[in-house]
């Protein structure tokens, strides 16, 4: 049962409409609400053990692109600003900031009372050292450097004032810099070999770990007793409640679930949707979930070649398959069906384009009939000798039963007269197919902290050309390209609403995506583990967490 109601303790619901309503509530609520309504007052002390589902390649989020690098590094690292799940930016290590009129320069006023746990002072030079580290070629940053591609330089203006300069306006900067991938690390440690930082990082955060990250085992943190600079978005100030936080790695779902129900651990990551109900039935346990902002788990048609080059065929595929129901049945309502390329809790999400994604099988069949696709004797439609065939590469061992979902989609597509072939591939071959555009349909999820994810996914400049890139539908639309470019150059909310709205509508009109579900992180915990909060990117954070008797 849910006995820690909070803004994010979404009840797992089965109907799509209810899910949307709840999400709307989730976005609207403020961050100051307490999560401890019925759990009593927080107490200090104790150890909380959290079993995660996998390894990160490297602890240092400046280097790694792994989601888990953000989870494991977050207790140690603070960021310049903090982000709430409604997309609002709040001060953190930076007290305030200004943006120049040409939007090329961001100037941060820093707190002057912050120290790293190795004794170093946090100041403007430390911020500069971190940005320099991220873009340093020897860091070989897999994510954060690419996040701030227009970065030119960070400049120390005085002890506690630093400016960051870009070559072109970049309105997505603040939401990006709020993520753990831009966590501030102690400057001295940044001089080490990058490999060392994959094990031990030092920050200003509420926890520290001298032993660091041990591959396949996890990481143990001790509380930073001097911590006194939590963001205003947190539920309390001062040191963390927990004396010790242990993150272990238990890759097997069933073993992780058993460790929680037998009391070996206090909380676990990634509850398989099928197990949510049985876990909720145990009065000593609860589940909590948070939807990730940014790109949903989407199918993208290749609009450059094959049958999906024809917009009518794309439209028929979108209308003719009841994706919402499929998602509901595969995930038992634990994941919300998606009706947009981006999650509803992404800033500047436009709900008005949702209607474009409605199901109407008869209209779909008619559209195909009218376009000249004749149903053949084998149940596959044919036009001018060409079969209505689509091929979809998938990474083998896909997470979250995505292969099951794909098979359901395949079965539904067959009813429409599509011959859909799913090709299971290893990561390397998948990325190669993606780069060459040798697919009709490709599936991927792309969670990010800002609506600039639309540019990542649909700007024609990002169409893969050999190597990996992200505009998977390979479509060039001046409307999309221009409105997303303009959105980077403004910070005015009204303009942003209009520009991002235009782009989302054009994406819907051109049928560039078949959205599947909004990825939600489902956490399971014992009722003795209270106050576990969420990073806006939908992974748990433990600063406000505490253990009851």
């Amino acid at each position: 049962m849910l006995n820690t109601p909070s803004r994010r303790t979404m009840r797992l619901v089965t109907s799509g409409a209810a899910a949307l309503a709840i999400t709307a509530g989730l976005v609207a609520c403020s961050a100051e609400e307490s999560t401890t309504a019925s759990g009593g007052d927080p107490v200090s002390g104790g150890t909380l053990t959290f079993a995660s589902n996998g390894d990160t390649d490297c602890l240092d989020p400046h280097q790694s692109a792994a989601d888990l690098a953000a989870l494991y590094s977050r207790p140690i690292l603070d960021s310049l600003v903090s982000l709430t799940d409604d997309g609002e930016v709040h001060p953190w290590l930076a007290k305030s900031w200004t943006v120049s009129d040409d939007q090329l320069t961001y100037t941060f006023e820093l707190r002057d009372d912050v120290t790293f746990t190795n004794g170093e002072k946090f100041d403007a030079a430390a911020v500069k050292a971190n940005f320099d580290h991220i873009v340093d070629p020897t860091t070989a940053s897999a994510l954060s450097a690419g996040y701030i591609a227009p970065f030119v330089a960070a400049t120390v203006l005085d002890d506690y004032t630093v400016s960051v300069e870009f070559s072109s306006p970049f309105s997505a900067f603040l939401p990006s810099v709020a993520t753990a991938y831009f966590g501030m690390e102690a400057p001295e440690t940044l001089l080490q070999d990058p490999g060392e930082l994959c094990k031990v990082i030092v920050g200003t955060g509420p926890f520290m770990s001298e032993t660091g990250y041990v591959a396949q085992q996890g990481i143990t943190y001790l509380k930073n007793p001097d911590y006194n600079w939590a963001p205003e978005t947190a539920n309390h100030q001062g040191a963390a409640y927990l004396d010790e936080l242990v993150m272990t790695i238990v890759p097997e779902d069933s073993v992780r679930l058993g460790s929680l129900s037998s009391g070996e651990v206090d909380a676990i990551a990634s509850i398989p949707p099928v197990n949510v109900e049985s876990l909720e039935a145990d009065s000593n346990l609860y589940t909590d979930s948070a939807a990730a902002p940014g790109g949903n788990y989407n199918y993208f048609p290749n609009t450059e070649m094959g049958v999906f080059a024809d917009i009518d065929v794309r439209e028929a595929f979108r209308m003719g398959i009841d994706f919402d129901t499929l998602v509901g049945s595969v995930y038992f309502g634990a994941f919300e069906p998606a009706n947009s390329p981006i999650a509803p809790n992404t800033a500047y999400y436009d709900p008005s384009q949702e209607s474009s994604y409605e199901y109407d099988a008869d209209a779909a069949a008619k559209l195909l009939d009218d376009a000249g696709w004749v149903m053949g004797a084998d149940g596959v439609r044919v036009k001018d000798g060409e079969k209505l065939a689509i091929q979809m590469p998938m990474i083998s061992g896909a997470r979250e039963q995505r292969d099951t979902l794909a098979q359901q989609v395949q079965a539904e597509a067959a009813k429409l007269g599509f011959e859909m072939v799913i090709e299971s591939q290893d990561l390397g071959s998948y990325v190669e197919a993606l780069g060459n555009g040798s697919y009709d349909l490709i599936e991927i999820s792309w969670q990010r902290s800002s609506p600039d994810v639309l540019r990542t996914l649909f700007d024609s400049a990002n169409i893969p050309d050999g190597g990996f890139n992200t505009a998977f539908s390979r479509y060039t639309s001046p409307v999309i390209d221009d409105s997303l470019a303009d959105a980077l150059a403004t910070l005015d909310p009204d303009e942003l609403t209009e520009l991002y709205g235009t782009a989302q509508q054009e994406i819907a009109d051109q049928v560039l995506v078949f959205p599947q579900y909004v990825f939600s992180y489902i956490l399971g915990a014992s009722t003795s583990a209270q106050g576990i909060e969420w990073e806006p990117q939908a992974f748990p954070i433990f600063y406000d967490a505490w253990k009851s008797e």
Partner: protein, 325 residues
């Protein structure tokens, strides 16, 4: 990859006793080198022919690689060299004890493997000891016993061989960790954490061994010399343990050597199920990430392990059976 037929080698040895030990050792080392070289070459070919862009794998899979980063990676890992050059420079590195740098872990492969190897070795050794002990006890107590006893154990053994280690592991955890709370379900801290994984890994091996062992024991017990031993008034225990057992040992340890390869494969599954750190889990994620240096490094370690186990077994033959000296 079988390294040789150990029995043959040793059986042939007495005839060439005069040519000395040195030659036997040289021969053994030669075979070991060929085995390891073969394993490296086969894995290198297999991994290189898998397709996919190595730069992309090194950068971390599904990430965008800027042209600068691409150039840097190509230069760092020598990816613009020809296939043959890459192969030779890898072999050259191996000869100097350098297995390269892991793509995903960003650290020397030797270091990464050295960190995890003790965990896996401990597991392999305890699983083997467990398997051999179980096989000894079961086969010694059931050979030539009543039909009902034998067929019961034969059925159990067949199940033991057939049960997937994955399922067995989950069952053991459910009963002994979550149910009875006797042993931890995860990790590698202390002896208690070793119990369940060793059983999960060792039980199928124990089942195979005890089948073979009982067969040979029964054959031995039918030999005329056993009648002689019994005639001298030896008790059943002495007959079985002192006389019959020794004869069946040769075939058992040959099988143990052969099964040691299977055990390494089983460790991949068992380490995953029990969240146990080790090279089994390491190779699992390395294959998924196409982390070629780690895969090759672990293949080498596995080949060396296999060679060592079989060498030790060859050395044991003459001790067990003096006729082979």
């Amino acid at each position: 990859m079988t390294i040789s037929t150990p029995v043959e080698l040793i059986v042939a040895a007495p005839g060439r006793k005069s040519r000395g030990l040195a030659q036997a050792i040289a021969r053994r080392i030669g075979i070991a080198v060929i085995v390891i070289w073969g394993a490296i070459t086969a894995s290198f070919l297999a991994l290189k022919s898998m397709g996919g862009d190595p730069v992309q794998s090194i950068a971390g899979g599904v990430v965008q690689v800027t042209p600068e980063l691409r150039e840097q990676i190509i230069a760092k890992y020598g990816l613009d060299d020809s296939f043959f050059q890459q192969y030779l420079s890898y072999l050259g590195g191996v000869l100097q004890g350098d297995l390269g740098t892991s793509y995903a872990l960003r650290r020397p492969v030797v270091e990464a493997i050295a960190e995890q190897l003790p965990n896996t070795m401990t597991l392999l050794i305890t699983a083997t000891v467990f398997a051999v002990a179980v096989a000894f006890i079961v086969s010694l107590t059931t050979a030539h016993r009543g039909k009902r006893v034998r067929s019961t154990f034969q059925a159990l053994e067949s199940i033991g061989v057939a049960v997937p280690a994955f399922w067995l592991g989950i069952m053991l955890i459910t009963i002994f960790s979550f149910g009875l709370r006797m042993f931890p379900s995860t990790g590698a801290n202390g002896v208690a954490a070793l119990v369940l994984p060793s059983i999960a890994l060792g039980l199928p091996v124990a089942a195979t061994l005890s089948q073979v062992m009982r067969d040979t024991l029964e054959k031995t017990l039918d030999e005329p010399f056993i009648v002689t031993v019994r005639a001298r008034g030896a008790g059943e225990f002495v007959v079985r343990v002192r006389h019959a057992l020794r004869h069946s040992l040769v075939s058992v340890i040959t099988l143990v050597g052969w099964l040691s390869g299977t055990l390494i494969g089983g460790a991949v599954v068992v380490e995953q199920v029990f969240s146990r750190p080790g090279i089994g889990r390491m190779i699992f994620s390395a294959v998924l990430n196409k982390d070629m240096p780690v895969v090759l490094g672990i293949v080498i370690v596995a080949a060396v392990f296999y060679v060592i186990v079989n060498t030790v077994i060859d050395l044991l033959y003459p001790i067990i059976d003096p006729r082979l000296r």
